[in-house]
Symmetry: C2
Amino acid sequence: MAAARPSEPAEGSAASAAPARRPEDSSGALLTIDLDAIAENWRRLRARLRAGAQCAGVVKADGYGCGAVKVAKRLHAEGCRVFFVARTDEGFALKPHLPDAEVCVLDGLVPSLANDYAAAGLVPVLNDPAQVEAWTSYCVANELRPPVVIHVDTGMNRLGLSEADALALAADRDALRAFSDAMVMSHLVVSEEPDNPINARQLAAYERVRARFPKAKASLANSSGIFLGPAYHFDLARPGYALYGGNPTPGKPNPMRRAVQLLARVIAVREVDKAGTVGYGATARIGAGGRIATIAVGYADGYLRSLSNRGEAWIGSHRVPIIGRVSMDLVTLDVSSVPPEACQVGDHAELIGAHLGVDDVAERAGTNGYEILTSLGPRYHRAYLGEVD
Amino acid sequence: MAAARPSEPAEGSAASAAPARRPEDSSGALLTIDLDAIAENWRRLRARLRAGAQCAGVVKADGYGCGAVKVAKRLHAEGCRVFFVARTDEGFALKPHLPDAEVCVLDGLVPSLANDYAAAGLVPVLNDPAQVEAWTSYCVANELRPPVVIHVDTGMNRLGLSEADALALAADRDALRAFSDAMVMSHLVVSEEPDNPINARQLAAYERVRARFPKAKASLANSSGIFLGPAYHFDLARPGYALYGGNPTPGKPNPMRRAVQLLARVIAVREVDKAGTVGYGATARIGAGGRIATIAVGYADGYLRSLSNRGEAWIGSHRVPIIGRVSMDLVTLDVSSVPPEACQVGDHAELIGAHLGVDDVAERAGTNGYEILTSLGPRYHRAYLGEVD
């Protein structure tokens, strides 16, 4: 992905009302989402799966901040036919764009919405016996035979049928009679740590349960789970993070292609003529002769405040540290080491891109790359590469 | 503000397509913004100002996450006539709703957009000599005489004319000839620490500069600055955070009224039959006999991941801790101490509200309340109290 300088205003953005206004000028920062990279990541992950296994696309949280509809349509064009979202509302919004695909809702079934699920053609991921019972009754009463997903908890203690409840369900010969086909899924707790014994314990628990549903399909692996090997692949893998360029193998080289670039506009450059402090709380000092560049991004853009005095940016080929606190709308960079002609008002500083991966930013912020992605804010001008209709 | 259970879908939300779907069921969480409280906070702050001082409304970052247009229209109905936003795009979006008010853009003037600023009637906050020169030339050439705001830096080292540049501007008799009237503003660095000597130093620097602009209006105080006393009030105060119920006097009782309530839906309750870990990374343990409630909120909703194992919620009159990591879409609560009948699927847990102020949440997250507000996420169902046309 080259240093993209998108020239077309995004649909529905404020900028679209006045086409003469270039987003490079009027936006604080430019976010470019490379759908070609996301598609390639999906193909790379699919190629790693054992023969016969399918690859889904997880597009919850607005496609990890990248735009669920645009990502899903691009993956659909690659051949992806199973998608996962978290919220019911996310399912209702996405499904009309994917009429021939399964859109599965991880939050599960709200019984009072059974009619809405059926009308929309959504697949609820059933998370407890009450949901199984409610969806079964509804489908029987309405003579529907949709596919279904049963979520079994193997160690997360968060959502999903307990092992005991799952085994009781398996023992009931009529239990899944209402459904055209069923999938039994579970969720790994520490898949990004291949040596953690919890993985093998979860796999064993999952094997115990799924063996009791011999006709059902099976799904266990998230992004990192794919890299635990074919024993974890079963019938369907459910990558999310790695699609968007995050590293599913922490501590090893990232096998995925970068999909996100974030460039923030320099709106001021200041020569420091006497030593002083920078920003709110006076947490950082700078000496006379230093230079500060202020960029139009802040924690209101989801650029986390925990990056204060810890994050970094790149201006051309120069690495520059954040100095002072990240404030609501602005970040200050210590550009004392950058030649003045290389950092001028109107230039852009890279916050995520070729020099700084999502995982790098996360490490400096003290969080994971998932939170960096899902926090990508609404004030950024968004441009897409590789969009399909 | 009573425990609001909004019944009308928000404009443009996915829910509005199917009016039969109640947001209590289909949304992960319900966010209620009390515009009456925001209006009362504005009146309370105005009442604290020295006689003759005006009170502005700061509505940048989409009104601190509360909805800039709705907040600004409500404050306008109270008599507020000066508003501040951060980004140029925020100004373009807001100004049409406030034809007779001044909408000032803190990011300053992008010279290539001078025509757009003039056409929209926006007031750029001029942050350096180049912006002063560009806007002056434009206004003279086009025979405009708009009001102007000059930002002088008195210790932030972020944006604003240096003291030397400001004094040079003041010495130029023709400098502000192009403008109907001018305001000279600056920004406090540590106003929430009344005993910090930086406040007095900034005040002295600001007094030196503004004395050289005898005809200009003067503005220095943000929310906390108002509480530093009348010497800081000048002609216009610019509160933001306190309008939205944040405490402008940390360490003392909050003089503001709460304006935000966030209730998350319980989507699962699980009896723990054998001791185990909870959530990703297996960071928390729970013993047999415990009970876990899973709520439909996560860091993708701006509920910060730093609240993992540290945040809390209230279920009815019961305080319950977060157990395990905040995940992208879900949070797990240890509800072992809550009677089962008081915590059922479909109930709501308070994350911000009568028991838990924005500042309380921030303290647990290791950040400030501003970031809690500006992170309020797009998946919440939003309801407004006290909205005006």
